[in-house]
Amino acid sequence: MLKILKYSFFDLIRSRWSYVYFLFYLLLGFVLLFLNNDVSKAVITLMNIIIVLVPLIGTIFGVMYYYNSKEFTELLLAQPIRRSSIFLGQYFGVAGSQTMSLVLGLGIPFVMYGLFKSDAIFDFSLLLVTGAFLTLIFTALSFNIALSNENKIKGFGYAVLLWLFLAVIYDGLFLMSLIIFKEYPLDTFSLAATMFNPIDLSRILILLELDISALLGYTGAVFKKFFGTQTGLIISIVMLVIWTAIPLWWLTYKAKRKDF
């Protein structure tokens, strides 16, 4: 698997898109720090961007890479290599190169602005960890979609729809149901609703850590009331791990049963 990972990773690192993605974060980091001049404040703005953008890029990179490396995959399938190694290797190559762009792109400006001397270092690291999780999750989801759709256009469409649903529509539906069912106790419902959306989960995770109740929103407040900050943090991280593991397990399950 490591060999496949190496090939996919270096293939991507050499590609233009990785640079664009890296430069984007680099620029974003410098601009935010220039405007805010305060590491902690910049972290909050950054969170709002990361939580929407990272899943979108993960989705698009995942689908594009899967379809573009079809020939590579076919070549590998005839070689003495385990099927799961082929797909997991490619997956970690894509997810890894994106994570590297994210960590380096944001890391460089923040370190230059004195991150190590500020007390926001833990908040900032958590933000990067969350960004890495969102990359892993959405790349895995999009690999699954691409694997089960031979048609590129369809696969691309479904993947973007999934992102749109989780990043935008989900919250709208959730708010609507809160209004419609406002006579009922909704705590359990909203807890479940949060667990089922990795984007909401990431937002709550970071806000719990930053300890900004004003931004937590209804679901976040319920989350905090129910679990407390410490347990809440742990539970949301565990949920993100599960959100990564299940699509990956499903990916290998499906890949082992597909004809090429």
Binding site: K3, Y7, D11, S69, K70, E71, F72, E74, L75, L76, L77, A78, Q79, P80, I81, R82, R83, R257, K258, D259, F260
Partner: protein, 236 residues
């Protein structure tokens, strides 16, 4: 070497293989023939574990291939359609496959034989169909495996390269290997094959030597014998 028992494969409603039984015990060249869409590639890909049959078992070199991948170390495979990552250079592709297989390889002799030197630093997406096929052949023949599977190896080759290919196949046969070939060029099959395996309607319709086939169909050349099988089945 290869034992196939009651192999069934369908893609959705399209039943492609319906009970293939095939034993390839000896070395030599086996030509897998059959009309377009009869399932030759499907059979070959099943042996390689790329297509997963619904029923039946395949064993290669004594072990069942299901859930196994190591046995592919024993197989050199030339795919029917040479789909390569387009952004790689020929040199990089060859090196990558060597790195993945970690076996001694003699690519240089083959590169010279097929006059591929001028293309070594070209990207695969820019090569002509025949040149891609030559790269395909180099990748297949550069390792030394006891089992060679060639799916339409002659596609797109010019006469000189075809002669080289036949030479390579003969060499490998003399080393005592088992070679599986599909082709629609009967002249080529007649020249190289020891045994004909004819697939029709998802089953092995005929297995035997070329003289046996000619005798059974009462034809005196292979092309007509093969056409006679297809026709006989149509009229029946």
């Amino acid at each position: 070497m290869i034992h196939i028992k009651e192999l069934h494969k369908s893609f959705g409603k399209n039943k492609v293989l319906s009970g293939i039984n095939l034993d390839i015990e000896t070395n030599g060249i086996f030509a897998v023939l059959g009309p377009n869409g009869s399932g030759k590639t499907t059979l070959i890909k099943s042996i390689l574990g790329m297509v997963l049959p619904q029923k039946g078992t395949i064993t290669v070199n004594g072990g069942p291939i299901k859930k196994n991948w190591k046995y592919r170390e024993q197989i050199d495979y030339l795919p029917q359609i040479a789909n390569f990552p387009g952004n790689l250079k020929v040199r990089e592709l060859i090196r990558m496959i060597q790195d993945l297989r970690r076996k001694p390889s003699e690519e240089q002799r083959l590169i010279t034989l097929f006059q591929l030197e001028p293309f070594m630093d070209k990207r695969l997406s820019t090569l002509s169909g025949g040149t891609k096929q030559k790269v395909n052949i180099v990748l297949t023949f550069m390792f030394d495996c006891p089992l060679i599977v060639l799916d339409e190896p002659t596609t797109g080759l010019d006469p000189a390269s075809l002669i080289h290919l036949k030479g390579l196949i003969r060499e490998e046969k003399e080393k005592g290997k088992t070679i599986l070939i599909t082709s629609h060029i009967m002249q080529f099959v007649a020249e190289v094959a020891n045994t004909i395996v004819y697939i029709l309607e998802g089953k092995i319709y005929f297995k035997g030597s070329i003289p046996e086939l000619k005798e059974q169909t009462r034809q005196n050349d292979l092309e007509h014998a093969i056409a006679a099988i297809a026709n006989a089945k149509n009229h029946a």
